[in-house]
């Protein structure tokens, strides 16, 4: 077997392979350690985090839908201070122990998905993350559909998106990705706006706004009526949007939306994603991200492809 090059770059951020886990589907990482070799991942994007802890939305927060699910968790999280103080150190310790045995010699990157209700909150949390050594990058969440204030409100207009991105850009010096909402008319315009505001890359797609009804009770299934749709059902929409955005911006694109296997992941690379995130699939198979990384390597070997970067943007 020839040595496969799985390494990929999201701008300044080098990953040992193109597979990361998506925020909101992988907790703070260690939840999965019994089932998945975390050091087999290129990176993991931790649970959407805000400056202050949040309790999130009332139950019910989840509905199963054809080939996917709706969620309305509403950014329940422990807040950025607890994340940095209590949650990152054990994750980092786990990873460094595992990395000692890893032949690539490269770390699994820890990224934090950052959300907020006001520009000031985003900035204050970003400053704290800037000082946190364990954090390799920030994925700015301007696209959560499940919170009343902030979230998607920032991410559905180019001017407000640019405002929050440029403010965070000043506060956070490391690699800054911006996670885009698919609930817009022109996603390429949104991507260009955040590129202009100083983003190092864009990540897409967040969930699609949807709803489900319980006809026995004649009521919406979710406590919030609407929620975010994810899973294999969104993949063709996500793939189309990643393809459009990759053509529209010069900064790297991280693709996600319904990826469940290596075939799906490779399709995202081919339409221009430099890396991918695996989300809802983690619920069905907690080892899916690790299996997808191995599957990409197997595909490259079968096709005689030495460097994964040669797959990026061939379409």
């Amino acid at each position: 077997m020839t040595t496969l090059k799985l390494q990929t770059d999201i701008g300044r951020l080098t990953l040992k392979n193109p597979v990361m886990t998506a925020s909101g589907t992988f907790g703070y990482g260690l939840e999965y350690a019994d089932f998945c070799h975390l050091n087999a991942l290129g990176g993991m994007v931790l649970k959407g985090t805000t400056l202050h802890p949040r309790e999130g939305n009332p139950y019910p927060r989840m509905a199963e839908t054809p080939a996917g699910m709706l969620n309305a968790v509403g950014l329940q999280n422990k807040g950025v201070k607890t994340l940095i103080k209590d949650l990152l150190p054990p994750l980092q310790a786990h990873l460094s122990e595992a990395e000692a045995a890893d032949k690539t010699g490269m770390p699994t990157r820890i990224l934090v998905n950052l959300s907020g209700s006001t520009v000031e909150d985003y900035v204050e949390a970003a400053e704290l993350l800037d000082a946190a050594e364990a954090v390799s990058g920030v994925e700015l969440n301007i696209s959560c559909p499940n919170v009343k204030q902030g979230g998607m409100a920032f991410g559905t207009r180019p001017d407000t998106a640019a405002e929050v991105v440029s403010a965070v850009r000043k506060a956070y010096r490391g690699p800054l990705l911006v996670k885009l909402s698919p609930n817009v008319t022109d996603i390429a315009e949104m991507a260009r706006a955040v590129e202009g505001a100083g983003a190092d890359g864009v990540a897409l797609i967040n969930t699609l706004l949807g709803m489900e009804v319980d006809i026995e009770k004649a009521k919406p299934v979710l406590s919030t009526v609407t929620g975010g749709l994810s899973g294999p059902c969104v993949r063709p929409v996500a793939l189309r949007m990643v393809w459009q955005v990759a053509k529209a911006v010069k900064i790297p694109v991280v693709g996600m939306g319904g990826i469940v296997d290596a075939r799906d992941a490779i399709a995202f690379l081919m339409v221009g994603a430099s890396a991918v995130e695996v989300g809802t699939a983690n619920f069905e198979d907690p080892a899916s991200a690790e299996k997808i990384a191995a599957g990409i390597a197997a595909y490259m070997e079968r096709k005689g492809i030495a460097d994964v970067r040669s797959l990026i943007g061939v379409i």
Binding site: G24, T25, F26, G27, E31, Y32, D34, F35, K47, E55, G56, P58, Y59, P60, R61, M62, A63, E64, P66, A67, G68, M69, N71, V73, Q76, G231, P232, T280, N282, F283, E284, D285, P286, A287
Partner: protein, 266 residues
Amino acid sequence: MNAQTKRADVAFTVVENRRLHPRFVRLTLQAADGLQPAQAGQFVQVRVPSSLHSFLRVPISLHEIDAAQGRIALLIQEVGEGSRWLSSRAAGDRLDVLYPLGTGFRRPASAEAPLLLVGGGCGMAPLYGLLKQLKQGPKPHAGRIAFLTGARTAADLLMQDEIAALGAEAYACTEDGTAGEKGLVTVHPVLQDCAFEQVYTCGPTPMMKAVAAVAQAKRVPCQVSLENKMACGIGACLCCVTPDKDRHHRCVCTEGPVFDADILGW
């Protein structure tokens, strides 16, 4: 103890599918090796084939656990596509199972304490498992155990003989009065008197709330096992939360599914 238990994705083989009722089967599963110990009240996430309507695993509480022998049993109630598929598994079929998940029932401090178990529907599964662990575990419970079952009609009462065979007092309530007391479990004198030091309950939410209210009025601690809808089962998605008294959201799949009723704000 549960927190330190290493969870795993275990490949089981079905060894028996026994129908207990038109809507319930008991699946007995065998792992290739021994299993981590598990507590009654803990649960598993079983992979079912993706279909037009379902994509996620099906969470099912452990019904019987013989960890040393690598054997577990699940009580399957046919409610949706996933559980219907599971109920039609036959000996020799393979199942992919995340085991063991969550926090189970806590044993009483004293082995002499009189205990009351109150179950209904598929809530019988973990309570029967608890009874078995109490009676047949390494330190068998010496105190009195009463097991009250609620059902619509006599034909829906599950495992009554097995409960009695384990040495528990078996009581029943049926809504139509065809067996035991007529009415819901809350009318039964064994619950009304509540001469116990601990109550355990699992079943439909309104039943558990009513049982917990009776226990609370008598100042008897009550553990309830919730069945909130969940996606991951391992504390990552936070879909399954329930509010506690301080309106903080508790994660049912990791902090529960078994909670002290006292702390809940349901």
